[in-house]
Amino acid sequence: INSKQLKMLQSKVLMRHPMLKWFLMSHEKQSYVLQLAILSLAMILSFCTRLFSVIRFGSMIHEFDPYFNYRTTKYLAEKGFYEFHNWFDDRAWYPLGRIIGGTIYPGLMVTSTALYHLLNTFNFTVDIREVCVFLAPLFSSLTTLVTFLMTRELHSTGAGLFAACCISIVPGYISRSVAGSYDNEGIAIFCMLLTYYFWIKSVKTGSLCWSACCALSYFYMVSAWGGYVFLVNLIPIHVLCLMLTGRFHHKIYVAYSTFYCLGTVLSMQISFVGFQPVQTSEHMGALGVFGLCQIYSFVEYVRSKLTKENFTALFRTILMFSLGCFALFFAVLTLSGKVAPWTGRFYSLLDPSYAKNNIPIIASVSEHQPTAWSSFYFDLHVLTIMFPVGLYYCFKNLTDHNIFVILYGVTSIYFAGVMVRLMLVLAPIMCILGGIGLSSVASTYVRNIDLTRKEDKKSKKSADNYPIKSEVALVVVCIVGAFMMFYAQHCVWVTSEAYSSPSIVLSAETAHGRIIFDDYREAYWWLRRNTPPDAKVMSWWDYGYQISAIANRTVLVDNNTWNNTHISRVGQAMSSPEERAYPIMRELDVDYVLVIFGGLSGYSSDDINKFLWMVRIGGSTPSGEHIKEHDYYTPQGEFRVDKLGSKTLLNCLMYKLSYYRFGSMYTQTGQPSGYDRVRNAEIGNKDFELTYLEEAYTTEHWIVRIYKVKKPDNRGNLV
């Protein structure tokens, strides 16, 4: 049959069975539709898998830090950008206040507000809280897309699709971007990957346009998260590595010079960053490499113009002279203090024992602990196995952009090992390298599969030294598929069980069904409705942001922890007996004290369990020198709350506020009254009265307890 008859036959078949159109499309069109379908499914999946806590607990903001971001976003949405930029908040860190405009990364708030105003112009009147809750899942969909684009640049479309599917459900990223977790990292990972994508494009093409896009997305990254320091050091390290391996050429020169100049100028527009890019050691690497680029290119230019002997003589003298000058100049700047040394948080990444020995506040945050093997496996599953494979394939064909990916992988493995929180930075590169590995394995072996029928196979003489080629290939491809299925099962389980808890609402399974503990919000709303608007609330710094956002009252210390002395004062008040704590509370104008107590409900993250940190931080400043940690232990060195506990502990303010009236409560069958269900002990100091405070409110399950500080007597201390 000739082509005309074939076409008539095709159109006849199509008219009767329109679905068969698929088989008549060319291979390119088929593969394009497949790619689009897989990518859209991955993007929808990444949004949906983050919605567990919205389905279980409702649409609310989680944890502690997101409440601060929510409060500032509300302020920005109501008052506009200039009010926000110049905002001095006198309702936190009483009596010091906090310059919010200058100590915040505004990217997150500006993004939410822009989205909010955009939706409202189209008359979708969503509340700002809904935008905040669902922003992170939305940006995770965009991250999936950018990961696909980036891996496609690095390797191939197949690797891109694998990487996109991996990153849509990887638990290491989900943990910080679940719906309700309204934190900087939610958009920062998107910005970071976008910057890296543009960087790889500019290294490959050497075009000014892509480098400018890279600088713009770097600006967005700087506005979003303090972790931009990682970017501004990784890209210079990449350029340095290319110079050392002899791969430096004009494309990289254009890319880096444009990126550095535009990026630095743009990053200094954020008030929090200010002049840091030219003053602090964390940014000096980028400046150094910029200078080195110029020198290297100039040297190459001169080399092309001079004869060989003249050139080598000139080169040696100038190199020695300039290196010496530069080293001297840099040493003088550092010693004279003009260039600040590495700050505490970043220095503890280079020397992990620094925080443990010197800065207890940094050491006490559980996210800053080093990482154990199970965190790696829990957050990454099969990617921990595929990471070396991806690296191997990158090393097999080394190109300029592969070197970038290798450097990114190696540095982020190290940083994730130092601090659990940075697992978030590791997750994308694990997905990219895992995608490259899986795709290379799959594509190598799919080529070997031969699905022709047995009789045809006998006639084709397969190579003698490769028996059962097709069967082995089938087995390997099935293994790859099975790994992905196990990965998906693991990720969904982890998301559902471990990372979908709002922390502000707790739930527990009992024989009678599920109980919800909404004590935190109950207490904050009590504060909001039953205390004067200018009341000052003292609590440990963990709860500061929540009290500011929900209860709308002035707090003394909050999660920003910028002033160690002030926190130490609060710690001294909590660790001292009532008589010595009262003058501290009068000095700080405290009206209400809020403590978290888990003894009745079994909630283990309460203030008594955090108490030793209060003692350590309280004793770390000169006014708290009388507070010594070993006073709060028994003579045998144990921390006990029962009769054998140390007298200092049994009489301090935190103990009394937690266990007031608890001595008469029966908490568990078979146990005496006053049995603490978290410490598993009957408390030692049961029947006592408070002299300077009175109980104002205790929530349903006794988790939050609020006390009012009594005003001094009119006629002085008659006691």
Binding site: S366, T371, S375, Y377, P388, N465, I479
Partner: protein, 149 residues
């Protein structure tokens, strides 16, 4: 100008040194660097930094009903805690799985003799399966409620 430069040499005598870059110093091959990275990956995912800071024991111990102390290999119920041995064992499993895939890639060379190819295939497949399933078993020891409810 030449007179100024020759001044120091009126006082000092230049020694007759021949300094050359040592011949064994050359840029390492990619696969050598890759091997180094694998070693560091083994150490970091085994939680070596955690071990240095927190200093856990190499094996834990509990006392059973008779008062005898029994060794405990895995620190249970905590995702971010480990003993030294369990960390190194698990990261060895990760690496085993990864090396299995790398070996599988080597078997595709067309010039390999038949016996070598079969042996490499078998080793590779075994390494992959052992690495993956043993990691699963380890995390089940650590978290008894893993993949449960």
């Amino acid at each position: 100008m030449e007179a100024l430069f020759s001044l120091p040499f009126q006082v000092f005598i230049c020694p007759n040194l021949k300094l050359r870059k040592p011949s064994w110093l050359k840029t390492p091959s990619p696969m050598f660097v890759f091997a180094l990275i694998l070693v560091s990956y083994f150490l970091v995912t085994g939680g070596v930094i955690y071990d240095v800071i927190v200093e856990p024991p190499s094996i834990g111990s509990t006392t059973d009903a008779n008062g005898k102390s029994k060794p405990v290999a895995f620190m249970a119920y905590r995702i971010n805690g480990q003993y030294i041995m369990e960390g190194l064992a698990s990261s060895f499993m990760f690496l085993l799985g990864g090396c299995g895939f790398i070996i599988l890639d080597q078997t595709n060379k067309p010039s390999l003799p038949k016996l070598n190819r079969i042996i490499l295939l078998a080793i590779g497949l075994l390494a992959i399966l052992v690495g993956f399933f043993v990691s699963r078993v380890f995390i089940k020891f650590k978290l008894p409620s893993y993949l449960g409810n």
